[in-house]
Symmetry: C2
Subunit: 84 residues, 2 copies
Amino acid sequence: MIFTAHIDIMPHDALLDPQGKAVEGGLAKLNMANLTQVRVGKHIRLQVEADSLEAAHTVVDSACTQLLANTIMERFQYRLEQIS
Amino acid sequence: MIFTAHIDIMPHDALLDPQGKAVEGGLAKLNMANLTQVRVGKHIRLQVEADSLEAAHTVVDSACTQLLANTIMERFQYRLEQIS
């Protein structure tokens, strides 16, 4: 079975996000001060080959904790979409 | 009305994604060679204050095209979630 994983990795809410602050300043300068609380993270899309949905979850969890996200500073969430 | 916008900004499919390739190599070294076709982009979350859903769409579209995404190399998609 093949799945596409759509993974979002965001800084923890308790942490400052200087990149988000910079974007917020840029938006304000473009007269979009009604856009606030900007947080910038990563979006990763990948293809998973696995025997079952459960196995796919296991491998994506493991990829996120071991390589993709720094779980001290970031949290991740994802959804899997079966494509075949 | 206040909305949260969840924006994904990804490199166009036709373009190489060296960061994605590097992640794919890293995953293979961690014995996760069943994870392939990695694409790395940005995920941005922000709050929108607007009079209507339509107005919120307009301002988020404009923020994406003017500041957040480089539409030559990236495409964006987003969803709006009303929070009040």
